[in-house]
């Protein structure tokens, strides 16, 4: 009985120390996450590529709408005709144009496909790294260290992929409008709206990347340290 009590007291003492003593500073996590991406650059690039494509599509659609709205402000009937010919659904008295429901559906679908792709790629990354994760846990890593590392990696990939995608999609939309409607498109370019569209597309991309990694990161965090002992490849 006495032995049991002293063990319980010892445990409580250890408990107090633990909170302070198992740590992974944020700076160090970022460093590890960054190195992880660097070391598997090609693989990360492919994961990121699906995000780049989906975000650039979103950005393209939104910036194109902005450009069309910019063109409408000229009030030029020729431009109006050209816009209708280019497939924009403009009524005779409409002063602005929105994206069509069909377009919105395609964008949403492409974003969904992108998230599923990210989940898939991240789950594979987790499986591939089970030994590494198990080893880290044997060295004293807590579940949340692992979770944080994966979320940080996805965050870095998200910021890079989404900003590249959004800028590329936006540039392509501007180029497209320039080619279709001539230099008038550049003269009435609604810079504010275009910037807002690109920024919001970037935000959506980062959010998708983080959304996609949540489940795989949880799987990784729950992995048992004994996995590190497994011998079969």
């Amino acid at each position: 009985m006495a032995a049991d009590q002293s063990t319980a007291a010892g445990t409580a003492l250890t408990g107090e120390q633990v909170a302070r003593q198992v740590v992974l500073p944020f700076k160090k996590s970022v460093e590890i996450a960054f190195k992880s991406i660097q070391a598997r650059f090609f693989r990360s690039m492919i994961t990121t590529l699906s995000l780049v494509l989906a975000v650039s599509f979103l950005s393209f659609v939104n910036v194109s709408t902005d450009m069309a709205n910019g063109l409408l402000t000229t009030g030029d009937p020729v431009v109006r005709e050209n816009l209708t010919a280019a497939g924009y659904d403009i009524g005779p008295r409409d002063a602005s144009v929105g994206s069509s429901p069909k377009q919105r559906w395609i964008v949403i679908l492409s974003l969904l496909v992108c998230v599923v792709g990210i989940v898939n790629a991240q789950l594979m990354a987790v499986t591939e790294r089970f030994r590494e994760i198990g080893t880290m846990k044997c060295l004293g890593a807590l579940d949340r260290f692992i979770l944080r590392l994966f979320v940080l990696e996805a965050g870095i990939q998200g910021v890079a992929g989404a900003s590249i995608g959004a800028v590329a999609g936006g540039l392509f939309a501007v180029l497209n409008a320039w080619i279709a409607f001539g230099s008038v498109a550049l003269r009435v370019l609604p810079a504010g709206a275009v910037t807002a569209s690109i920024l919001s597309a970037t935000g959506v991309g980062i959010a998708l990347s983080l959304l996609g990694v949540l489940y795989p990161a949880a799987v990784a965090a729950r992995m048992q340290p004994v996995e590190a002992m497994r011998v079969e490849q």
Binding site: T7, Q17, V18, Q21, V22, E132, T135, K137, M229, V231
Partner: protein
């Protein structure tokens, strides 16, 4: 004579796994005491419950019944944080497959447990370089695991296991993926570390080379301890074991 301190105490431990609908009893009641500072080998054929016992001692698995004490703390009472703390501070792990984290250099691998333990970066680097020199890799600390041979990787693993001055080093078949000579080098390095630093080394192994350096050999058979042999008794029976 000084009091022998038990670093690990296993008391009436059983472990039952559920395989489909069948219950498999991997350990059938093990009692074992391991004195601090010794070099212990756990030997037994595959499927004998050797790995299960080993994982139990390492705090990687919890017993179905019975208790495992590490440094007189019952590990079943510990929560996730405390277990992580135990793994970080008290136990150093060495694996058959080396398990050097591939994206990090040798030095970063060695300093990682120190980072977890809250040591500041400069201190950790100094200590890490010291440990790598100790295992004979003083000039290779900037190398990635892919640039190191198996034996060198296992040396990094030994340095990493020593990072937070643990009381116990658990080595799971440390020579299993190494050739004869390299295996011998690793065994003598482990023995040396055990002697110089007073670390208890517990290793699960098939490797008879390990017997020469062990202070004690625990033979496991069918989930029970077959016999525990001390060093003196060993020298007599080794010939028989070798020929078996």
């Amino acid at each position: 004579m000084t009091q022998i301190r038990n670093i690990v105490r296993v008391s009436k431990v059983t472990k039952t796994f559920k395989l489909g609908k069948v219950l498999v009893e991997a350990l059938k009641g093990i009692d074992l005491e391991i004195a601090a500072g010794n070099y212990i080998s756990i030997m037994g054929p595959s499927g004998s419950g050797k790995s299960t016992l080993f994982n139990m001692i390492g705090g990687l698995d919890k017993p179905s019944a019975g208790k495992v004490f590490i440094d007189e703390v019952d590990i079943a009472q510990l929560d996730a944080y405390e277990l992580a703390w135990l793994r970080c501070r008290k136990i150093g792990y060495i694996f058959q497959t080396f398990n050097i984290i591939p994206v990090m250099t040798a030095l970063e691998n060695v300093t990682l447990p120190m980072t977890f333990a809250g040591m500041n970066s400069d201190e950790a680097i100094t200590k890490g370089i010291g440990l790598l020199q100790l295992v004979g890799l003083g000039d290779r600390f900037e190398h990635k695991p892919s640039e190191l041979s198996g034996g060198q990787q296992q040396r990094v693993a030994i340095a990493r296991a020593l990072a937070n001055d643990p009381a116990i080093i658990l080595a799971d078949e440390p020579t299993g993926n190494l050739d004869l000579t390299t295996g011998e080098e690793i065994i003598s390095l482990l023995k040396q570390m055990s002697q110089d630093r007073g670390v208890t080394v517990i290793s699960a192994t098939h490797d008879f080379k390990m017997l020469n350096v062990s202070d004690q050999v625990v033979w496991i058979r069918d989930g029970l301890i077959d016999k525990i042999e001390d060093r003196e008794e060993l020298s007599i029976s080794v010939g028989r074991i070798g020929s078996r």
